[in-house]
């Protein structure tokens, strides 16, 4: 044991919509967890409270902990929140003359239906676009034009740019200006000149150029990205500055790293200018955490499922690789930035269960009782039955032992609510109704996961499922069986998985160059494109103090079949710089990947193949935390057996006597068979007949189904 005075710490804090989670890693291998409520819009206070809640049980003050912390890693929902609550800067938009409506018409109906459920899409009379972030009268078109080869067709009319800037700032009171011209990703000269003019005419205005923030084709999405970044830019910068000041005042003097939606870290100063990068970085960190565990346990194919109070989120890791979202959105606005795909639906413990008065179909969500009033059984004023109330009825929650016995669950209230909302309308008894709702929740999740995997050409049977969040454990063994996943894992760190992901990430910079080359292209041409990006990337990493031996340059290329729309980002596996064989292998890999993703016979080789974008991920490797392990011992779990009570056993289709186990008393190697439940401090793991759960040496619970 190290002397506590010489211990140093790594602190990671993730600010989510409801909770702010902290995980502290000591240089002795100790793990400490903190949790506090998030405090929008001043999230920084919740961050301090969360860190303090981790420090206190360690016997440290916040100042003690921070003064011994060498690195602070952070993820925050601040940008999502600014957009969702329309709390950003008054923003203006300068674009090519004749195309001023591009953002407001969102590629036609796209912006009217994007982000809606299928049910909403089928009801077009009740659909509209989201209220725009830029008022139409704060959009100005200026004369300029570049063509599809990046050649200038019309020169930039600088006088009209200057007039536009003055008009926007003086007449329209804008604090931020986004600039996006047609084809600027091929030739950013006009946009760069506009920035100079803005800084001359209205110094202090926050400027985002589309060619900086998203140098990729597609003027609607690129312009939208620039606007979101400008809109949330000041808030992001102020937030990170304020947080640094607060931490410094409490004794912190180390570096701060900020999580990006693509699952990599940026130093806080750089993150401050890339607001769009922080969108959904918490869920991205969750996937990174799952990947870390998967790597540790030797599982390259992981479905990461997180189910808390309001939403169910899924990310997919395939062959150790993360999948980026093709059409990311915040609120209902599209943007382009590399972002780990995390799909969510409104299904969680707080989801209200009901029977549709019209169709008489029972359903779970998407309405939610949230944290307040919450489920009926919490006794906090909730009157509508939720999925959590259903879980109580089928024996998955112990009325007297919830949250360590701090509140007694109101079973009678839950029974009455489920009866009223589901059982009576359907003519069932409350238990039968609850069992039915449980089956429906499992089926909905099964269908969602199937859709997400099929969308990527994957088969869930090849995957391991990680279950995170307070509600997931009660369902995971059941829907995991229906999906026929290899096994279900409820990780030891499940309650703070996003914060855990923060400490398992690397520094990463993403660079993209858009150019169209017929494949197989000349290797020297490809190498030249990457060389330019690598030079930039190395300088950046050097400046961040990352020594060359910790620098990794990962190449990937977007390829597609000519006349088809699907582009596939294909990793370069060959040694770089590439030779002719390396390029050939890249094209082969693309073809294999394409058929895997889009199905047999989908490749249209006759039209030829082209490379459309070149992507460099420049990594600065961070030290990985070493998780403590314990040798696996006897399989006998009786030391943790607390008793038995009736629980739902889906395999037999009804209630059965289940054994009840206490997670904290289980030892690595112990095996529990269904019907049983394991109560952990944050969730319950429900096992049906045929399910076998084992605690592994990291204290993860691994569930398999007997053949």
């Amino acid at each position: 044991m190290q002397d506590s005075a010489t211990l140093s710490y790594l602190v990671a804090t993730d600010v989510g919509g409801t909770c702010t989670d902290t995980i502290v890693f000591g240089s002795d291998g100790g793990i400490h967890i903190g949790k506090a409520l998030s405090t929008p819009p001043d999230f920084a206070h919740g961050v301090l409270a969360s860190i303090e809640s981790a420090a206190t049980p360690m016997g440290l003050t916040l100042e003690d902990l921070l003064s011994r912390t060498h690195l602070f890693v952070h993820g925050s929902t601040v940008v999502d929140n600014a957009v969702l609550t329309r709390d950003g800067a008054r923003t203006g938009f300068i674009t090519t003359l004749g195309f001023e409506d591009t953002l407001h018409v969102t590629r036609g109906a796209y912006g009217r239906w994007a982000g809606l459920t299928e049910g909403q899409m089928k009801h077009p009379v009740k659909t509209d676009r989201a209220a725009p972030l830029v008022a139409r009268d704060a959009v100005v078109g200026v004369t300029e034009r570049t063509d599809c080869f990046g050649d200038e067709v019309l020169a930039l009319d600088e006088a009209s740019v200057a007039a536009a800037v003055r008009h926007l700032v003086q007449d329209k009171g804008v604090e931020a200006i986004a600039v996006s011209f047609l084809w600027s990703f091929l030739n950013p000269a006009h946009e760069a000149r506009v920035r100079e003019i803005v800084l001359r005419e209205a110094p202090g205005t926050y400027v985002t150029l589309s060619s900086d923030i998203a140098p990729v084709p597609g003027e609607y999405e690129r312009g939208s990205t620039a606007v979101i970044n400008a809109y949330a830019g000041r808030i992001t910068r102020d937030y990170l500055t304020d947080l640094a000041t607060l931490l410094a005042a409490r004794g912190y003097s180390g570096a701060t790293m900020v999580m990006q939606g693509y699952g990599g870290l940026l130093p806080a100063a750089e993150a401050a200018d890339r607001a769009v990068g922080m969108i959904e970085c918490g869920p991205a960190a969750g996937v990174i955490g799952a990947k870390f565990l998967g790597d540790l346990m030797g599982d390259g194919d992981v479905i990461a499922a997180d189910m808390g109070g309001t939403t169910f989120k899924v990310g997919v890791i395939q062959g150790g690789q993360l999948e980026y979202a093709r059409e990311p959105m915040v609120d209902r606005f599209h943007y382009i930035a590399p972002k780990i795909e995390v799909v969510s639906i409104g299904a969680g413990g707080g989801s209200i269960v009901a029977v549709d008065p019209l169709t008489r179909l029972p359903s779970v969500g998407p309405r939610s009782a949230g944290a307040r009033p919450g489920p009926v059984c919490y006794g906090l004023g909730g009157t509508e039955a939720t999925l959590t109330d259903v879980m109580l009825l089928i024996g998955y929650m112990d009325p007297d032992q919830f949250l360590g016995g701090s509140i007694t669950l109101d079973r009678a209230g839950a029974v009455a609510a489920v009866s009223r909302q589901v059982a009576e309308p359907l003519g069932l008894d409350p238990t039968a109704a609850a069992i039915g709702i449980y089956r429906i929740a499992c089926a909905q999740i099964t269908d969602l996961i199937r859709e997400i995997t099929v969308e990527r050409g994957l088969d869930p049977r090849d995957f391991v499922l990680h279950a995170f969040g307070g509600t997931c454990g009660m369902l995971a063994a059941a829907f995991g069986e229906e999906l026929s996943v290899r096994r279900v894992i409820i990780p030891y760190t499940a309650s703070v998985n996003c914060a855990f992901g923060l400490i398992s990430a690397d520094i990463a910079h993403e660079y993209t160059t858009t150019r169209t080359l017929a494949a197989p292209a000349d290797a020297s041409e490809v190498n030249a494109i990457f060389a330019q990006m690598e030079t930039k990337a190395k300088a950046q990493l050097n400046a961040e103090g990352i020594e060359p031996e910790r620098q990794r340059m990962e190449w990937s290329v977007d390829l597609r079949y000519c006349r088809q729309v699907h582009e596939v980002t294909t990793q370069v596996h060959a040694a770089t710089p590439l030779d002719t064989t390396g390029v050939a292998r890249l094209v082969d890999d693309f073809e294999a990947l394409y058929e895997r993703k889009f199905g047999k016979g989908s490749a249209y080789r006759e039209a030829g193949i082209e490379m459309t974008a070149f992507r460099l991920t420049a990594r600065g490797l961070m030290p990985r935390p070493k998780l403590p392990t314990e040798e696996e011992g006897s399989a006998d779990p009786s030391i943790a057996l607390m008793g038995q009570r009736p629980i739902l056993d889906l395999t037999i289709g009804g209630m059965a006597t289940g054994r009840i186990y206490d997670f904290t008393r289980l030892r690595p190697g112990n095996e529990v068979t269904g019907p049983a439940v394991i109560h952990t401090p944050i969730t319950t793991i429900a096992l049906h007949t045929g399910h076998r759960a084992r605690m592994d040496r990291w204290r993860n619970i691994v569930v398999t189904t007997d053949a």
Binding site: K126, D128, P217, V355, R563, S602, Y604
Partner: protein, 605 residues
């Protein structure tokens, strides 16, 4: 049956359609399928009746049911496991030859238990003009390959001779082959997933759930109809081909829990390819009916049962062979969509309880413009101008229509980015934006349409060509509701460049130098410094324009979607030089409009 199992099976059927759609889009990879969402996948029961309709081009849901039934009739006794059938004859069931149906039986334990059907608009079908829409066709024989039903896959094996015959008759055989492959993959996924469902829940249980689902939709739809007022509502649509005008007249009568759509009084079939067959007309009226009346009811056979269609034989909505129909989907079928949207909208608006479900007509006039020619990268490009999918929303009783907001029969379309088009074709856009004053005026304004102009740009052959067809540009078609105006009509202009005018930077039609010639039907070049200008229609308005909130008018003027002259003359709103509403002057203007309305009545038959 057990409500929980019923709920799970219903959800899973829905997801099966979804998965099949994903597969279709993935394998096809074409722009029209992926961007325009010009596709459809649905499940049918063993007898070919609609079980679960997906979100796609909705006028196909009933036609594909008829395609299933036609295949059942033709191949009775020879339908094997793994078979896939092709049908694209409009006189049998299809809408037009280029929308190919693939229909596949789904067997379980050796018994035929269901069908899946899908369509995409194939790249070419060998009609007179490339792309499928053939304005120069004179009869069905000049509209390319057409089959009333053939077996394409026999027990999972491709009939290569049949496939080769089809591909031998089309312009872009590789792309058409890919289109067919995508549909086959789609059928396979539907079959596999249905198989898994049947295995898990057993065929009798699934069949019981399917029957219950149809029964439930019928009961719910009939109950909804009973909640709506009885009455008769009429609507009329015009189609114009170079001065030859045809009418579609619709009388919709709702009695208790039944709806009759009667097209008696519509004009005889045209010599042009704008006609549609009766199955197409039926699909055309159901396309708006599903989302307008059954937004919360599963789209299946149960919704079809309470509806009857009367379409006089030999009319433009029930043409007889060999009348040409290749433009039907943007011709008479869309007229039927629009006419049905109007009568349904009137019926909903006549009910205080359902008034908020009523809508004026959305984007009523598709323009099928297919560009084709050598491109700037040494290849050849062909494709539809996706702005036709951009549309315009009709106004509602509580809100304006959505500007460039799509259309009802295809609820989730989108248009391509300018950069996508310019990257694929040797053309350059001069502008693309909302078209001022195109939204039908009303208390709630129709959504605007758009306007755009293109010129050739660095085209190796000096330019490209395009096929244009549709319903012409002489009539507004997005009808208003409750006193709202129709949206402004489409407009297509070929600007012949002056011999040596300076190129400049025109950003609207008036500043493009040259001589304007209207075009609407046929094949045209786009060469040299000539420009093609297209404006597409806005949505219909709702309510009296002079009842519109003057501040909403002022905001429309600020945004450039309503001109100040329209604000004054149509809406009766006076604006100060700063753009603010002048209340006193507005009252005067509106009083003057009221007086003028009553001043000089003209007789109307």
């Amino acid at each position: 049956m057990d409500p929980m199992t019923f709920s799970i099976i219903r959800h899973r059927l829905f997801r099966i359609v979804d998965e099949a759609v994903i597969t279709l889009k993935h394998v096809s990879g074409s722009a029209i399928t992926n961007e325009g969402h010009d596709l459809m996948v649905s499940l049918y029961r063993a007898d070919g009746t609609l079980l679960m309709g997906g979100v796609g081009f909705l006028h196909h849901l009933t036609s594909a049911a008829e395609a299933c039934k036609a295949i059942i009739r033709r191949f009775q006794g020879q339908i094997g496991e793994g078979d896939v059938y092709l049908l694209n004859d409009p006189y049998t069931a299809a809408l037009h030859t280029s929308d190919i149906y693939l229909v596949a039986p789904i067997h379980h334990e050796g018994r035929l238990v269901a069908w899946s059907a899908c369509f995409v608009h194939v790249t070419d079908i060998g009609a007179m003009n490339p792309g499928g829409f053939a304005p120069q066709a004179v009869d069905i024989y000049s509209e390319g390959f057409s089959s009333p039903g053939l077996k394409l896959l026999d027990r999972g094996e491709m009939r290569q001779d049949v496939l080769d015959t089809i591909l031998n008759m089309v312009r872009s055989p590789e792309m058409v082959s890919l289109d067919l492959r995508s549909m086959i993959a789609c059928c396979n996924v539907a079959r596999d997933r249905m198989g898994a469902l049947l295995t898990k829940y057993t065929a009798p249980v699934v069949d019981e759930a399917c029957a219950a689902l149809v029964e439930q939709s019928e009961q719910l739809f009939r109950a909804r109809l009973r909640a709506l007022p009885d009455g008769q509502w009429q609507s009329r649509q015009y189609l114009d081909v170079q001065g030859e005008t045809a009418r579609v007249l619709l009388t919709m009568t709702k009695t208790d829990d039944r709806l009759v759509f009667d097209f008696t009084g519509s004009d005889p079939q045209s010599r042009h390819s704008i006609n549609c067959t009766k199955w197409a007309a039926l699909g055309g009226l159901f396309a708006p009916l599903f989302p307008l009346l059954c937004y919360d009811i599963t789209w299946n056979e149960g919704v079809i049962r309470p509806v009857e269609m009367i379409a006089p034989e030999g009319s433009i909505v029930n043409c007889t062979r060999p009348a040409p129909v290749s433009v039907a989907t943007v011709g008479a079928i869309q007229s039927v969509n629009n006419a049905a949207c109007t009568t349904i909208g009137k019926m909903l608006a006549a009910s205080e309880a359902f008034r908020d479900q009523a809508t004026a007509v959305w984007h009523a006039n598709h323009f099928a413009i297919f560009k084709f020619g050598a491109n700037q990268r040494g290849g050849y490009s062909i494709g539809i101008l996706t702005e036709t999918f951009a549309g315009a929303g009709g106004a509602r009783s509580f809100a304006d229509g959505v500007d460039i907001g799509g259309e009802i029969p295809n609820p989730i379309s989108r248009m391509a980015n300018v950069e996508t088009v310019e990257g694929a074709f040797p053309i350059r856009y001069l502008f693309r934006r909302r078209a001022a004053d195109s939204g039908g005026p009303g208390q709630f304004r129709g959504g605007t349409g758009g306007e755009m102009a293109i010129v050739q740009h660095r085209a190796p052959a000096g330019g490209i060509d395009y096929v244009i067809s549709g319903k012409g540009a002489r009539h507004p078609m997005s009808e208003g509701l409750a006193g709202g105006y129709p949206g402004a009509p489409n407009k297509y202009v070929w600007v012949h460049a002056d011999a040596d005018g300076a190129p400049g930077a025109p950003d609207r039609l008036e500043t493009i130098p040259g001589k304007a010639e209207p075009v609407s039907w046929g094949v045209y070049p786009l060469r040299g410094r000539d420009a093609l200008y297209v404006r597409w229609n806005g949505g219909g308005g709702y309510g009296d324009p002079i009842a519109r909130d003057p501040n909403a008018v002022a905001s429309d003027v600020t945004s450039g979607v309503v001109s100040s002259s329209a604000a004054k003359e149509i809406y009766g709103v006076a604006l100060s030089s700063s753009g603010a509403v002048d209340d006193a002057a507005t009252s005067v203007l509106r009083a003057a409009i009221r007086s003028a309305r009553l001043a000089a009545p003209e007789a109307v038959q």
